[in-house]
C-alpha cells in the first residue's frame, strides 16, 4: 500500500512540468472533455482525432530517448514500421478470431522492442553517441524503407501476407475484442477512440512516474554528463539500452495503432519525411517534458493537416520553418516555454496573495 502511494507521489517531480491541484484539476477537465467529445462529434472527426492520438506515442518515445536521455534517435520510424508490418503479417495469417488481434498487437510491439534490444546493444555497448547515434538510427530506418519498397513481387510474402512493395500491405483486420454473442470490432471511430485515449492516458502517467523515479534520475544524469553518471557507479550503457527499448516499444505501439486505424502500412512510413516529422513535433513542443510533447504534437499535427488542404509540400515547408523558428526563439520548445512562463506567473501570484 505504501509502495503504491509512493508510486503515485512520483506523478509529480522535478523531471515533469505541472504540479499541484491546479494542474491536476486542468488534467481532469481535459480528460472529461476528451471522454465526452465523441458524444458531440461525427464519426469522421472522431476517427481523425484517433489519427492524431496515434502519433503521440512515437512523439513520447522520442521525448524519452532524446529529450530525457539525450540520445537523438532519428529512426523511431523503424520500430513504427516493424510493428506495423508485424501486426499486418500476424493478423493476415491468423485472422481475428478469439481476440488474436490483441495478441498480435502485443506481439508486434514486442518484435519492435526485440529489434531495439539488438540494435541498441551494438550502439550503446559499442559506445556510439551524439550525432553518430542519429546517423546509425536514420540509416536503419531508411534501409528498412528501401528494403520494403522492393518487395513488390509475388515471391515476397510471409505465409499468406504479401508485402506488396511500395504499395504497402493492406486489408489486415481491425482490432477485435471477443465478446459473448458478437465480437466488438474497433473501427476507426468511437470504439478505437476510447481504446487509444485510454492507452494514451496510461502511457503518459506511467512515463511521468518512471521519469520521476530513481531510474529517471539516472536517465537525465546521463543526458547532463554521461562521464559523471558512470563515475557514480552507474552502468550507463544498461540505462541507455533500457530507455531505448521502452522508446522503441512506444514507437511500435504507434505503428500498430496506425496500421489498425487505417488498415494499411507502407514503406514510406519508415522514410525520410516520416522520420523527420516526429523530431519537429517534439522539438516544437519541448523535448525534455512529457506534457509539452503531448500538447506540441497535437497542435502541430492539427496545423499540419489544416495546411495540407493547400498542398502537402507547403505544409512540409511550414514544418521546416517552424523548426528553425523554434531553434532560434525557444530552443527548449515553444509549449514548454509558455508553460514555464505561466508557472512563473502563478508562483508570483501565490507569493503576492500569501
Amino acid at each position: 500500500m505504501t509502495g503504491l502511494l509512493a508510486m503515485f507521489r512520483r506523478l509529480e517531480g522535478p523531471q515533469t512540468a505541472g504540479r499541484g491541484p491546479a494542474f491536476w484539476g486542468l488534467f481532469a477537465l481535459v480528460l472529461a472533455v476528451a471522454l465526452a467529445y465523441p458524444l458531440f462529434s461525427d464519426g469522421y472527426t472522431v476517427g481523425n482525432t484517433v489519427y492524431f492520438f496515434v502519433w503521440v506515442f512515437i512523439a513520447l518515445s522520442l521525448c524519452l530517448i532524446w529529450g530525457y536521455g539525450g540520445s537523438l534517435s532519428f529512426g523511431q520510424t523503424a520500430f513504427f514500421g516493424i510493428a506495423g508490418y508485424g501486426y499486418g503479417i500476424l493478423t493476415i495469417n491468423f485472422g481475428s478470431a478469439y481476440g488474436f488481434t490483441l495478441v498480435a498487437l502485443v506481439a508486434a510491439v514486442a518484435i519492435a522492442a526485440l529489434f531495439a534490444v539488438l540494435l541498441g546493444y551494438f550502439m550503446f555497448f559499442g559506445r556510439i553517441a551524439g550525432v553518430f547515434l542519429g546517423i546509425v538510427t536514420l540509416a536503419v530506418t531508411l534501409m528498412l524503407e528501401r528494403f520494403m519498397a522492393q518487395t513488390a513481387g509475388p515471391e515476397w510474402h510471409i505465409g499468406t501476407a504479401r508485402l506488396n512493395g511500395f504499395n504497402g500491405m493492406s486489408a489486415m483486420p481491425p482490432l477485435t475484442i471477443p465478446w459473448p454473442g458478437e465480437p466488438i470490432v474497433l473501427f476507426a471511430d468511437v470504439g478505437l477512440y476510447y481504446l487509444v485515449l485510454g492507452l494514451l492516458v496510461f502511457v503518459y502517467l506511467a512515463l511521468r512516474i518512471l521519469m520521476n523515479s530513481s531510474f529517471g534520475n539516472v536517465i537525465v544524469a546521463i543526458r547532463e554528463n554521461p562521464e559523471r553518471a558512470e563515475m557514480l557507479g552507474y552502468d550507463i550503457r544498461k540505462y541507455q539500452l533500457i530507455t531505448f527499448v521502452i522508446g522503441a516499444a512506444l514507437a511500435g505501439l504507434s505503428g500498430v495503432l496506425y496500421t489498425v486505424w487505417g488498415q494499411y502500412i507502407t514503406p514510406s512510413s519508415m522514410g525520410m519525411t516520416a522520420a523527420a516529422l516526429p523530431l519537429i513535433w517534439v522539438a516544437v513542443g519541448g523535448r525534455s517534458d512529457l506534457t509539452s510533447t503531448v500538447i506540441g504534437t497535437l497542435v502541430v499535427l492539427a496545423a499540419f493537416q489544416a495546411l495540407t488542404i493547400y498542398g502537402s509540400q507547403y505544409a512540409l515547408v511550414f514544418m521546416g520553418v517552424l523548426l528553425v523558428l523554434t531553434v532560434l526563439i525557444a530552443p527548449n520548445g515553444l509549449v514548454l516555454g509558455v508553460m514555464n512562463w505561466l508557472g512563473r506567473i502563478a508562483t508570483r501570484l501565490t507569493q503576492r496573495a500569501g
Binding site: 509512493a6 522535478p14 530513481s214 534520475n217 539516472v218 537525465v220 544524469a221 543526458r223 547532463e224 554528463n225 562521464e227 559523471r228 553518471a229 558512470e230 563515475m231 557514480l232 557507479g233 552507474y234 552502468d235 550507463i236
Partner: protein, 238 residues
C-alpha cells in the same frame, strides 16, 4: 598496507609515451599528492586508474585485487571515486538533485533525505539546494562535485585539481574538507598545482615528469630537491 598499487603502467597515444612504466603505491589512510609540470601524465594516470583509458601494459591493484580489466562503474563499486579537473556536475539539475542522484543507489526514502541534508551541511550548500548547479560559482561547483564523489563513501578518493580557480580562502576550506574526510578513514590521491594546498594536506608527494615517477617523499623533501625545481623551470635535461 597498500590500498592502490600501480605496477609498470604504460600508456601510449600513437608515438607519445604518456605514462612510462609508472610504479606507485598508495598506503591506506594517507593523503597523497601528485604534482608535476603540464603534460607530465597526471590526468592520464587518473584515467588509467578509473578505467577510462586502458594501459598498453602493466597492472592496477586495488585492495589486493587486480582491477586492470574492470569497467569504470565496476571500479566505482569496488570503492573508487573521483572529482574531475573540470567540474563534472549535472549542470541543468538542481544541487539537491545532483546529490540525490549520487546517493539514491545506497539510500531510500527518509534515509535518503537525511543523507542529502547531511551532505549539504558538510559542503555548506544548504541555502543553494534549489539552485540549478550550472548557476553556482566555480568554487561551489567544485565542492558539489566533491560532495557527489564522497557520497559514495569511497575507500580511495581521486581529486583532480580540487582547488583550481579557487580563492586562497576557498582553497584552505577545501583543504580542511579533505582533512576531515581523511580523518574519517578515506585515502586521498590528489593532483594539485597549488603548493599551499599540498603543504596543508599531503602526507606524501609524488612528482611525475614526462610520464615517469621523478621523485617521491614528504613535501619538505620535495621542495628541497633541486632536480624538482629544475623540471618546473624546464631544465631537467639541461
Amino acid at each position: 598496507m597498500s590500498l592502490l598499487e600501480l605496477r609498470k603502467l604504460n600508456k601510449h597515444f600513437g608515438g607519445l609515451h604518456v605514462t612510462n612504466s609508472v610504479d606507485l603505491t598508495l598506503r591506506a589512510g594517507e593523503i597523497h599528492c601528485l604534482i608535476g609540470p603540464n603534460g607530465a601524465g597526471k590526468s592520464t594516470l587518473f584515467r588509467l586508474i578509473l578505467g577510462e583509458h586502458h594501459p598498453g601494459s602493466g597492472d592496477i591493484l586495488f585492495a589486493g585485487e587486480n582491477i586492470t580489466a574492470l569497467k569504470s562503474f565496476a571500479r566505482i563499486h569496488r570503492g573508487l571515486s573521483v572529482k574531475f579537473q573540470v567540474p563534472g556536475v549535472f549542470k541543468g539539475l538542481s544541487v539537491r538533485q545532483n546529490l540525490e542522484i549520487a546517493l539514491q543507489s545506497r539510500h531510500r526514502g527518509r534515509e535518503l533525505e537525511a543523507e542529502i541534508g547531511r551532505l549539504l551541511a558538510f559542503l555548506g550548500l544548504e541555502s543553494e539546494q534549489a539552485q540549478i548547479a550550472g548557476n553556482l560559482s566555480h568554487g561551489q561547483k567544485q565542492w558539489l562535485e566533491i560532495g557527489m564523489a564522497v557520497s559514495l563513501k569511497p575507500r580511495l578518493l581521486l581529486l583532480d585539481e580540487p582547488t583550481a580557480g579557487m580563492s586562497p580562502e576557498e582553497t584552505h576550506m577545501t583543504g580542511e574538507m579533505v582533512q576531515r574526510l581523511n580523518a574519517d578513514g578515506m585515502t586521498v590521491l590528489a593532483i594539485e598545482h597549488d603548493m599551499a594546498f599540498v603543504r596543508q594536506v599531503a602526507h606524501r608527494v609524488t612528482v611525475l615528469h614526462l610520464g615517469q615517477v621523478f621523485a617521491q617523499g614528504s613535501i619538505d623533501e620535495i621542495v628541497a630537491d633541486e632536480r624538482v625545481a629544475a623540471i618546473y623551470l624546464g631544465q631537467a635535461h639541461a
